[in-house]
């Protein structure tokens, strides 16, 4: 019973990590119709920025999150403006390939700079937790969870309450009409992609505190993001949050399914993915 409660807590906290991982990916997919295969690499870049600032300047990992966001926003903006905008009207398969190429380049640049050593940020307060009877709530994971939800809330506000958000929504619903009312398409696309990358940067900063990172660690994150978005559905922040939490539950409890075990974790996750795709392609909350 206490194990069940502990698993549940971990599943929900893990879900928070997935929300952070998926939220930028979902935005870019929903608005630009790009499956951003370099999303995982962005996350890793964010993680390395946090790691560097922590190692060199002793900056608390949670304080470096805004810096991650800003740096990744700039990177994302420039990439979209300079590169991806040029094939945005080509078949979706091409943007997929292009972002794969970008991913390859980023990962290997990171390898050249940071080597493939595993890094992890371990602030002094790591490992402390709130103990509720037999259940432990690790404080770093709890903080990461809270920040992931805060990030989702901020993004939601940005999309609904600001001019930028309105422009992004307009571009997503009707490109030509948006252009007619004076929205700069290139700029708006680049903004969207930049915001998506910034979210990835924050996710990376969070991940560096709970997991070990290396330049090649990004691919699983891209896949996780994809699964989360498919589960929740495209097009809203809420859907991503639901998808992320659900995926956390599936991961944790799928592993303890009798007769299967953790060795099948990916198989279980993808089986769920394929079933959802076939039964309800728009996702659980998708339109």
């Amino acid at each position: 019973m206490s194990l069940l409660a502990q698993q549940l807590v971990l599943a929900i906290l893990l879900g928070g990590v997935y929300v952070a991982v998926a939220i930028g990916f979902s935005l870019v997919w929903g608005i630009l119709n790009i499956i951003n295969l370099s999303h995982g690499a962005f996350i890793v870049v964010g993680a390395y920025i946090t790691w560097t600032l922590f190692g060199r300047l002793g900056l608390d990992p949670f304080l470096s999150l805004p810096i991650d966001a800003a740096a990744l926003f700039a990177l994302g903006y420039l990439l979209q403006r300079g590169l991806i905008n040029r094939v945005i009207r080509a078949p979706v398969f091409f943007t997929l390939l292009l972002t794969f190429g970008v991913n390859l380049a980023i990962v290997n640049l990171l390898l050249a700079v940071f080597t493939s050593d595993f890094r992890s940020v371990t602030p002094p307060y790591a490992g402390s937790g709130i103990v509720l009877g037999p259940v432990v709530i690790p404080s770093i994971r709890l903080a990461a969870f809270a920040i992931a939800l805060l990030l989702a809330a901020l993004l939601s506000l940005l999309m609904r309450r600001t001019r930028i958000g309105a422009a992004i929504q307009a571009v997503a619903s009707d490109r030509d009409a948006a252009q007619l009312v004076g929205i700069d398409l290139r700029h708006t696309y680049a903004l969207t992609y930049g915001i998506g990358a910034a979210c990835a940067g924050v996710a990376g900063g969070l991940l560096s505190t709970v997991q070990a990172i290396s330049p090649t660690a990004g691919e699983p994150y891209t896949l996780q993001a994809f699964v989360v978005v498919v589960l929740g559905g495209l097009g809203s922040v809420t859907a991503t949050v639901v998808g992320g939490l659900l995926f956390g539950l599936i991961e944790v409890f799928g592993q303890s399914a009798p007769g299967l075990g953790a060795g099948y974790a990916n198989a279980i996750a993808f089986a769920v993915l394929v079933i959802v795709l076939i039964v309800r392609p728009q996702g659980l909350l998708g339109r």
């Binding site: 050593d117 371990t122 996780q224 592993q255 953790a262």
Partner: protein
Amino acid sequence: MSLTGSTSNEGNLSKQGYDMWLSWINDQGGITVGGVKHKVQIKYEDDQSKPDLSAQLMQKLITEEKAQFILGPYGSPATASDAVIAEKNQIPMVEANGAAQAIFNKGYKYTFGVLSPANKYLTGVIDMAATLSPKPTTIAMLSADDNFSVEVAQGVADYAATKGMKVAFDQKYPNGSTDVSSLVAQAKAANPDILMNSGHLAEAIAINKAAKDLGVNAKILAYSVGPSTPQFIKALGKDADYVYDGSQWTPQVKYTPAFYLGEADYVKAYKTMFKTQDDPDYHVAESTAACLALQKAIENAGSLDAQKVRDALAKLDVTTFFGQIKFDSRGLNIYKPMVVEQIQNGQHHTVFPQDVADTKPQYPTPPWAQR
């Protein structure tokens, strides 16, 4: 050799080990064959941590660079692929970085491993645990699902019972898993005296973090691969303390080498050559040992003929700074014991077997809350 890609870290360490021997032997004027000294050249190719590329490059080295003998690549999958190439070309390969035993059960004649095989990786920890009091009795075993890690876990499962211990929890997770916290929670529920992981550095770090987060207060935390590297301590800081690992070699072991350097000189030479403060870890040492085995076999054979050197390897029995090197009929070095290391105050110490240990294990590991 995996100089880039997912195992580039270990690959580069192994290359350092080869280079250590190379500079030493050429300072001596080379290998003596029939009274004549032959200078040695080692050619490297970067297999990018991909087994298929490794085989391709191995063939290239043999045909284009006219490689006469092969030093193994890094990792069990690449070693398995390269063993086939060695076999097809009938060129002896001495490998130091692929411990999965399966490679040696196939009747290959040209592959020799200086390592203790995978199933021995963590049995040393069990041997040690049996000598401690209070004696731990239950083990929770987590394992990645690659061939090497599975063999390590299997070795523990087979061996624990003979020492009166019970594996209370045994789970595999996919290689490269990003989150293992729920597995650790399950392991915790089994309330083990010993928490073991058979995986890689990233997972060892993640499991140690999760163990602290969730307050898993096992008396022994032991991970197959990871803690022996300096990175493990850098990544975890004080939390790395008390962790055990099974190691092929540690700078503290004391053997009586028949030739080449002793441990202390080896460590000193390493630090000078690579301008570092870090001690050489076992990847470096085992790779140097592979070179030593090959050197000795060539000298014993008194010939550069591949067939004769192979036969000399099969008969080899020599003690080096790395320990005894002697191959069974499969080409496996089952005669060298694994040593157990523990991290104490941010330093690696050898704690078992007692005859090579430099200090006693700090046991039991204090609960996380009291550190």
